[in-house]
Subunit: 399 residues, 2 copies
């Protein structure tokens, strides 16, 4: 298949592009390198020494013997180039990772809220409008988030995108299936709710074939392909804005920084290993919806954990201290989370278990590159409202 | 109250601004005059001879003795000016009409789809972010649309924004109230769905006080205030892009053009007179939600009608011919529509009935200005997909 990976230089996009290339697909990466620019803006950088995109691609050619094309296009701003690409290259599928993807970054200030909404909505809508205008039959696979659901309903398992409901109408009861009611936890998560509405409309009006992957929090850094040569290494964010909870704990453990648990740590989250993510993307590509079908939604996660339990698990594995810090976010202190993920399991996904991969990750990535850590970037300082406090460990305050 | 009317030069914004000024409020109009620019772009103009905004405002000062301020700000693009206004002027309420509001215009081509999404989402989000950043307590009243609901569910009355549902969970049944599941009929309507999600988030995270008015199709042209001097006259769109169905029928009747019924005309729509719209805005202003309360949603409509029945009614009143034309839209041929609108009625709205006001409108507006009609602008030519046909009367094709 001819596949365009929008955002193919990013944390999920890069390993997905390599995995699809390794699987024999003809891959073009489209990226405006905005994630690297945000590193500059934040004065933070990947724990792992990622190489420039050109070097990555030539190293891939050298090691795997496979070509990947690259085009520097801002899909949110440069519609004409995107349309030209789709019209003339005729990809069979487009995988859309080209969005600002950090909740804390999206909440840092008005500028970031506005950038996240403007960038994400226009990126998604431009792709949809360009597919329609090109007249091409393209399967669009989008990276969404479990965060569109909010965090669980009274112990009920969250279904894959659609909810069966009953509505009373006088004496009668009407049965319907609806998009699961959303309850996003940040401006970033909200943009994925907006995306979902864009997809539903274009699937209905224009019969576009769309798959939306409601992904849990990624853990791990590398896949079979990104591990095959150091020049192919994937990015690993440990800073308070872009670092995901588990990866941040791993770095904190590696450098002797307290494991910062926000609030009570009672938040339950869904997780998936990065190797499973790339497999899921491939499975989604191989199982597209038909034209005229509604958006196909998969829950792309493999296990759920409560944050404080993860912290204690890593503390036990590594000897790191756990420290409770204020929660910079606006969220319930404690939540249950049960998730249905039957579709990927039925289609052959064999999950990497957290309990098996965790220690390896600590040693091979967090430990190996710990000299690159800037301690000042570790705490989460973006607050959800003026009343929230930054997640700085009391033991380190003023230091 | 100090009130900012965003989009206060437009079809709904102008009469609302005058009505609130006449009621003793201190009104500032914020508008970038984009609607006038679209007239130029489409080569269409208001049936009624609307005056430049400066002349409107000075005529209002002269006739009513009341000051209205005007600022030319593009709220979707110029965040800093908007923030500066809110921070330094401290409005008690902002009424947000500043969106591209025509479904056919939004579907005309990719450029218009993209403009509508970009403009409407960024306008709404900028207002929300600016209110938060200003730290001011502002009641935001937004003009939404009945179109977010889709067109009815199995004969059930559409509630005001929120739906009571039951969800089976094993042996148990969970009861919840959710935002009514949306089913927008155009890119324009979809932007109002996106708005709704933005509002829900900011009401939750930032405790903003927000009212969303789910408005039906406006009919009529003038209010008590816009009728008081010809220089205050409101716009009246009869073209295929911006003209609403009833106003277009009135002009068609006045100039002897067939009344163009799309498809079978079996579409049932909700309507409200423009005089009732301005009253509803005032009622909404006087009944704001509390901080921390969810978004307050009103159904702002007073009656429902099936399009073909409206055409026949106007045909009987005026002798005009009814002609069935292809439907340029992608929609169900026939739909029922039942709507709950108890809140405004309880709060004192006394609706203007279509059956009473229609003939007056034909004579006083459509008839009076019929020499200004450009026949070529009458048919609806924006099609929802490449497979839809323009709504040109067979009897006039090729002429």
């Amino acid at each position: 298949m001819k596949i365009a990976v929008l955002g193919g230089d990013g944390f999920c996009g890069w390993p997905a592009a390599l995995h699809l290339s390794a699987s024999g697909h003809d891959v073009t990466i489209i990226d405006n390198l905005s994630r690297r620019a945000i590193d500059e803006e934040l004065g933070a950088e990947s724990l792992t020494p990622i190489r420039p995109i050109e070097e990555r691609i030539s190293a891939w050619k050298e090691t795997a013997g496979r070509d990947i094309s690259f085009r520097n296009i801002d899909v949110a701003q440069d519609y004409d180039s995107l349309l030209d690409f789709i019209t003339h290259e005729g990809p069979d599928a487009i995988i859309h990772f080209a969005e600002q993807r950090a909740a804390p970054y999206s909440m840092k200030n008005s500028r970031n809220k506005r950038y996240t909404v403007d960038n994400n909505v226009n990126a998604t809508h431009n792709v949809l409008a360009a597919i329609v205008e090109s007249g091409r039959d393209v399967h669009l696979v989008h990276l969404g988030t479990m965060g569109v659901y909010g965090y669980g309903t009274a112990g009920m398992a969250i279904p894959e995108g659609y909810l069966d409901i009953q509505v009373a109408n006088g004496e009668d009861v009407i049965e319907q299936q609806i998009l699961y009611p959303t309850n996003p936890g940040s401006v970033y998560h909200m943009t994925k709710v907006l995306d979902q509405n864009l997809f539903a409309y274009y699937a209905k009006n224009d019969r576009l074939r769309i798959t939306d992957l409601h992904q849990g929090i990624i853990w791990g850094t590398n896949t079979a392909e990104t591990s095959s040569d150091e020049r192919l290494i994937n990015r690993f964010d440990y800073d308070g804005d872009y670092g995901t909870v588990l990866n941040r704990f791993l770095v904190q453990a590696a450098v002797g920084y307290p494991l910062t648990v926000h609030g009570t740590g009672g938040q339950t989250r869904a997780f998936i290993h990065i190797q499973d993510m790339v497999r899921c993307v491939q499975i989604a590509l191989e199982n597209p919806p038909e034209a005229g079908e509604r958006v196909k939604i998969f829950n792309q996660m493999t296990e759920t954990h409560r944050v404080r339990e993860l912290a204690h698990l890593i503390g036990e594995l590594t000897g790191a201290q756990v420290e409770m810090v204020p929660n910079p976010r606006n969220e319930a202190a404690e939540n249950e989370l049960h998730v249905t993920n039957d579709t990927f399991l039925e289609l052959g996904l064999n999950p990497t278990r957290l309990s098996e991969g965790l220690l390896l990750e600590v040693e091979q990535t967090a430990g190996r590159y710990r000299d690159r850590v800037d301690f000042s970037k570790i705490p989460a300082t973006s607050t959800w409202t003026a009343d929230n406090e930054a997640g700085i460990p009391p033991s380190l305050q003023g230091k």
